[in-house]
């Protein structure tokens, strides 16, 4: 099978998965307590039987289930995720407005986790019985054991009252609006604590994983071959061992992307970060089903996209996964 065809198959898989999510979403609406018309009417602030009937016709609730499903799928395909009565905005616009903040937070945490985790892991692997290696393991265990909300609260305590050098809430300084680079720096400053909170668990996990896979790689025969060629240790580690050791890490990152996203709900709530996580929390509290389902759909989309990216990275790193044309 050629690379392009394989890629096509992967994309088709992803599309199928997405469709399944949409159908599941639809069934969730059906399972929501009470008559959907009543839910909508309730959100609108009560209604008479005439209005209820009108709602039913308007939203197609009087039609059969398969018909309703077809309508729903068609709407989602057009990017219409419904309307949030609570926020008084189309759900898709609501989500798109919040997405950049979450993307910034999640990607910064991911970057931190991968870079710091891999770096610490490599350091720890160089002398597996050295002091540094044990220190890395200890930090990893501590970081892994601390729940996200606790880490967040501790950072809040430290940086809000004991040593107030970093902003602890929001994404920018509302009192003095800035522009250009000043605005970027302001956002970066606000980003430090939430990103740290969200990323620290993964720094811990990735450093452990990287330490183990790097130790494996450094003991591999091909590393001995590289040394027998007279390569300096920097190339032995940075070229020959690293690329092989990265394979498990890439797998892990791909698998955990969804978790990271879920972690953002908690972190955004603790640090009042105006992202999707915060929106999720709010819409759960308000029983804002359209918004919640929209977010669910969106996060499924992101997780599937992350897996696609992982797949591509995989192929980039490991030629054995690429189309195996005989040489």
């Amino acid at each position: 099978m050629t690379g392009l065809r394989r890629l096509g198959a992967t994309a088709a898989n992803a599309a199928g998965l997405l469709l399944a999510v949409v159908v599941l979403n639809f069934l969730l609406i059906q399972a929501a307590p009470g008559d959907p018309a009543q839910v909508i009417a309730g959100e609108m602030g009560g209604a008479s039987p005439e209005i209820m009937a009108e709602i039913r016709t308007r939203y197609g609730l009087d039609r059969s289930l398969p018909e309703q499903l077809a309508t729903y799928v068609g709407k989602v395909a057009r990017g219409d995720l419904g309307y949030s009565f609570f926020f008084n905005e189309p759900v898709s616009r609501l989500i798109l407005g919040r997405l950049p903040a979450t993307a910034l937070l999640v990607l910064s945490s991911l970057g931190l986790a991968v870079l710091a985790g891999a770096g610490l892991g490599i350091l720890g692997a160089r002398k597996p019985n050295g002091l540094l290696s044990h220190a890395v393991s200890l930090v990893a265990i501590a970081g892994n054991a601390a729940p996200v909300f606790w880490t967040g609260l501790m950072l809040l305590v430290v940086f809000a009252s004991l040593w107030p050098v970093l902003p602890v809430a929001g994404m920018e300084d509302v009192a003095t609006p800035r522009h250009g680079i000043a605005h970027g720096l302001d956002v970066a400053q606000h980003l430090v604590l939430p990103a740290l909170t969200l990323g620290i668990v993964y720094v811990a996990q990735y450093s452990r994983l990287m330490r183990a896979s790097m130790i494996d790689a450094l003991n591999a025969d091909y590393v001995r071959t590289a040394r027998a060629k007279g390569l300096p240790e920097r190339i032995v580690i940075g070229k020959h061992a690293l690329r092989n050791a990265l394979i498990p890490l890439v797998t892990m990152v791909g698998l955990q992307f969804g978790q990271l996203f879920a972690g953002a709900i908690l972190v955004e709530t603790v640090f009042a970060w105006p992202g999707l996580g915060r929106l999720t929390f709010d819409s759960i509290l308000r029983r804002d089903y359209p918004t919640l389902l929209g977010i669910l759909f969106c996060s499924a989309l992101l997780v599937i996209a992350a897996n696609l990216v992982t797949d591509l990275l995989y192929r980039l790193i490991d030629p054995r996964i690429r189309a195996g044309r005989p040489a």
């Binding site: 091909y222 001995r224 390569l231 030629p319 054995r320």
Partner: protein
Amino acid sequence: MAPVLAVEDLTVTLTQPGGPVPVLERLSFSVEAGRTIALVGESGCGKSMTALAIMGLMPEGFARTDGRIRLAGEDIAAAQPSRLRALRGSALSMIFQEPMTALNPVYTVGDQIAEALRLHQRLGRRAALERALAMLRAVQIPAAERRLHAYPHQLSGGMRQRVMIAMALACRPKLLIADEPTTALDVTVQAQVFDLLKALQDEMGTAIVLITHDLGAVADIADTVAVLYAGRCIEQGNTRSVMRAPQHPYTRGLMGCTPHLRLGASADAGTGPLREIPGLVPPLGRRPAICAFADRCGRADATCLDNPQPPLSEAGPSRAVACWHPEAHTA
């Protein structure tokens, strides 16, 4: 002729929590340009450790505690790590037992051969790849242009070992250490690899240290042979002479364990069932002060049990043996 490699009294020790344990004891041998010395012996007798000691690639805990390793006169055992790195892959290289795992799975064959050339001969990418291609042709890999861009998993075991040989010989080293280069390969491929090594040696004048279990190969390509037992050399000499008339009972035992095929003779003609040497090589740290082979030896007597390890002493023209009762050959 001055030897390319001269190992003199090499002693390697493993540092363990229970105290230092001798691994190699006063090992001496040498090999000249264009010649091959075979190191033979059972697993665990120190063959591979000798190779790694010469390369300066001993695992953590192992260290040379005595002796010299001279490469073209220079004591490389005492050299700085940077000097040793400069020699490895250029003047001194090694091929390993397992071609399936000795190549890096994520880089192309060409890239891995070119690496040493770019490092030691400062060739550019293109020039190094051209030389890599020439090396692939030299090791007789069919469709070499295509294989240059292949990954190791796309090649068979025999082809991978040819790639290893190409890689090791790319910088035309003075010395090649081949640590059981054919153990993992099919019998037919084994012969091809040995033939190839021999041909390249004739062309480049490389000295080879061949580590092997394959006494047939030793007879075919080694000029001299050193038999190792429990970290010591117990018999050494011209291959033909040692194989024809082994003086140490262990060497004799090794020969007895090798099937000899004679054309025209039925399978069970001659020596009868294949013999074996009873017992095992004493493990590290349990080596006795007396002859380490005594408890497996049919000839051991009070002299063997009461005296320290016999020294390696001259036993005929370019022959040496370490035994209290060497086999006398009258023929």
